[in-house]
């Protein structure tokens, strides 16, 4: 079964063709990097306009790359829940039009559910139940994944997501956008123990996060150094900041693993591409005899292949959306019952 996936929840216009929920025939991603650099982040209306401009070309490119036409496609899956409202709308409008014109089943997917499947696409041996840390510029949560249908949200960020903190600190330090890869690279030349930044909520008993205070601490320290005309050890600041973030993420995730008594950890979302996060998780999991899985780098950030994979699983379970499918920007995780998402 060939599923066409469409993802436009934030700043990536993406379409993919995935066979049987596991073989990626294409995964076209048009990132809005030029706009992000210009505005220093995602501006919802600007991003939505770019989606409307690109969506048709991206879908065509995904079909061409897969060597398929719409006649070969068996179903359409689209991110309809969680994201920027105007951005989500473009993807859903495209998906329902294709579904209507080609008489194809349509399925709306929660963006976070997609990220869980990104890791399954990369690691077919990733088993259930497991604890999943999914973290990007837009979300930051720990989930207990009993199986793909049953997700328990254990905790999430109370303010900034980790990726957002990376972006904002990078912007303040005068580094490029997006901040994650830039800080990751710069940190390799720095001393991660040079500064002792706070690890907010690291030891709290819940599984929630807060990165806003850490971000402010870094920015205040940077301002003090400038005011004192002191040297600005950018690499050391970046490395110490990154360490504070990943240390907190790893510690809290492993505590959740302990509570649930599982042996498997899944780390996904844009920040799962961070090399220090991967290193710390691998070290800690090895010590505790746990298995940890990360998506391929190409599947860490937003992409439509993961949406197609999630869609395949739902369609196999007999679920579909009708042509009145709408978008739910703040939808909680869970079932397809759209009334509960309103």
């Amino acid at each position: 079964m060939l599923v066409l996936g469409i993802e436009t929840s934030c700043d990536e216009t993406s379409a993919a063709v995935v066979a049987d929920g596991k073989d990626i025939l294409s995964n076209t991603i048009a990132a809005q990097m030029d706009l992000l650099k210009k505005y220093g982040g995602v501006v919802p209306e600007v991003a939505a306009r770019r989606h409307a401009e690109l969506i048709g070309y991206v879908i065509k490119e995904a079909l061409d790359t897969a060597g398929k036409t719409l006649e070969d496609i068996n179903a359409v899956a689209v991110t309809s829940r969680q994201g920027l409202i105007g951005c989500l709308m473009v993807g859903v409008a495209a998906a329902k039009s294709i579904s209507y014109a080609r008489h194809l089943p349509l399925i709306g997917i929660h963006h976070i559910e997609g990220h869980i499947y990104a890791n399954r696409l990369s690691n077919p041996s990733l088993s259930f139940p497991h604890v999943c840390l999914t973290v990007s510029g837009g979300h930051n949560m720990i989930l207990y994944v009993q199986d793909p249908q049953h997700l328990e949200l254990m905790g999430s960020t109370l303010d900034d997501a980790a990726g957002e903190a990376f972006d904002k600190v990078a912007k303040f330090l005068g580094l490029d956008f997006p901040g994650g890869p830039v800080i990751d690279k710069l940190s390799k030349q720095g001393n991660r123990k040079a500064f002792s930044f706070p690890r907010p909520m690291k030891n709290s008993k819940d599984y929630d996060f807060s990165f806003s205070g850490l971000k402010t601490a870094v920015i205040n320290m940077f301002k003090d150094k400038i005011a004192a005309n002191a040297a600005l050890p950018l690499a050391d600041i970046a490395a110490s900041f990154q360490e504070a973030v990943v240390d907190t993420l790893v510690t809290k995730t492993l505590r959740a693993v302990e509570e649930k008594g599982v042996k498997t950890v899944s780390v996904t979302g844009g920040v799962s591409a961070n090399s220090r996060l991967r290193e710390l998780f691998q070290d800690a999991c090895k010590k505790k005899g746990l298995e940890v899985f990360f998506p391929k780098l190409s599947l860490c950030t937003d992409n439509a292949a993961m949406i197609a994979a999630a869609g395949y699983a739902r369609i196999m379970r007999g679920e579909t959306s009708d042509l009145r499918l709408n978008v739910f920007p703040n939808a909680p995780l869970g079932g397809l019952n759209e009334d509960e998402n309103r």
Binding site: K38, Y39, V43, E45, V46, A48, R49, H51, A52, E53, I55, G56, Y57, I59, K60, L70, G86, M89, V90, V92, A93, A94, K96, S97, I98, Y100, A101, R102, L323, R324, L325, N326, V327
Partner: protein, 232 residues
Amino acid sequence: MIVLGIDTSGYINAVGVYDGESVLADNRFPARTDTLEQIVDNIDVTLKQAGLELKDVEGLGVGLGPGSWTGIKVGVTVGKMLAFSAGKPVAGIPTLDALAYTAQNESLPVFAVIGAGVKDMVYAARYHFKANEPVREGDYFAGDIRELVKIIKEPVVLAGPNAGHYHGILNREAGLKNVMIITEIEPSGAAVACLAYLRLTRGQSDDPLSLVPMYLKESTAKVFVNKYAGKP
């Protein structure tokens, strides 16, 4: 040639069908915030009402705006992806052109006006007619309704969803006496289909994937960035 026309630039989903001789359907579904939810259903209902299915449609017309930014992003995306998926030719029709077409007058030029969502701000354009087809004169206008006083020098028809309201401002506050006829009209799917029919039968179709909404106004973020970068 059977042409399906859609326009979601206003607070309605306008869906119509024209077959080259007569209008087979021309529906306006109220849609203040739920264009996305309704639009494909509304297309289906309209086609069925005309005794048709999408496969019977031989061409599409899509209202490009200006109007609601969300509305036109949804409508243009639906129009282009229907055309692409069903393999039908498509023509993008500016909504102001379609309003002028509906309000056409034998002797007077037509000013089509659409509210821009901010108080007294409008999108507008001036048209004369050639063989029943609107021909736009000059650029599209985006600005305060009162500025039209400088542009409207002769007797005209003022047409659009709130033409009466805008005429009131022009008349009371700006002393404009040149509006002879006020035509209160919402966008029409059939008008979009008629104009698309004329273009498509002349072989003037658009590449569906290239269709983009006609915003006529930059997003606020872009306006600010340009301002601080010293650009106009």
